[in-house]
Amino acid sequence: MTWDDRSPNGHLGDFLSALVDGELTDPIRRAADQHLAGCRACRAELDATARMHQLVAGLPMLAVPAPVWAAMMAPSTSGAPGAPLRRPRPMVWAGAAAAVIGLGLLVASPPSHRVTPPMTHFVQVHTVSQSGDPVTQLAPAAVPAFLRR
């Protein structure tokens, strides 16, 4: 078959893509080359076709985003083969998150606070103003009489 069978105007048409992709048999490719030698329009279209091929073929391989990767690997840790793998939609995640937060508010223990005392300051104060046994130093200055022996 030649392009003339399908193209009334005699131009190469979609055989240009086949030429770019190396899909023409030798006899057809030779005939195509002959046609190209005398057809400026087909040469221009061949260039444009090759450019589109290069652009798409040159698209980079994409890194798998972490959430997608986690979802991809989910079947290896899930139950029976064929278990549903569909990733919950954001709304489902939002609902689940809200439920978890609500449950947390109901049952959570009081929040613990992390305290960071100014230890350096305390050491300096005690070094300067106290001497001797620090426990003795902390005793009240005036002991009630009834407690004295």
Partner: protein, 163 residues
């Protein structure tokens, strides 16, 4: 030749699979859904996998799952048409997807998304995956001439979109 395990397939070909899925769907969520569905089928089909081009096998499954989904969406759209004309419009989410980032790759990806789904599938299988026309014809279950026509018309539309 040993048949790879499911985990080996995911680990070795995960980026390839995701890339093909992203080129077909144009956004992360749909690509992730597509990859998951493909891996499910891969997992079920590994026992019958014939050693050969794993990329070819995976991309055929990916394209078929993608086109199956497209056809399902079209059917739903047609069914919904009498009651809700808005739902009958061609799915435009992919075409309207605003791609983050910059550069020529994004322009090309955006142009790809403007192609009719069948054209995009043929172009992706040819240019991204590197399948032969015969393999694409086999994957898409269409004659070789249809593959050639879809690829060439697809490239013509890409050119218009990138002008």
């Amino acid at each position: 030749l040993e048949i790879p395990t499911w985990e080996e397939v995911a680990t070795t070909y995960g980026a390839f699979l995701y890339s093909v899925a992203y080129r077909l769907t144009g956004n992360q969520d749909d690509a992730a859904d597509l990859v998951q569905e493909v891996l499910l089928r891969v997992r079920r089909g590994l026992a019958t996998y014939q050693p050969g081009s794993m990329e070819g096998w995976l991309s055929r499954i990916t394209t078929n799952v993608f086109l199956d989904d497209v056809r399902r969406r079209r059917r739903r759209a047609v069914e919904a048409l009498p009651d809700d004309p808005e739902q009958g419009l061609p799915a435009s989410a992919a075409a309207d997807e605003v791609l983050a980032g910059q550069g020529l790759s994004d322009d090309v990806q955006a142009a790809l998304l403007r192609l009719p789904d069948e054209f995009r599938a043929a172009v992706v299988l040819c240019d991204v995956v590197g399948l032969s026309y015969a393999e694409i014809a086999d994957s898409l279950d269409v004659p070789l001439g249809t593959v050639r026509s879809r690829i060439h018309r697809g490239r013509g539309l890409l050119r218009e979109a990138l002008r």
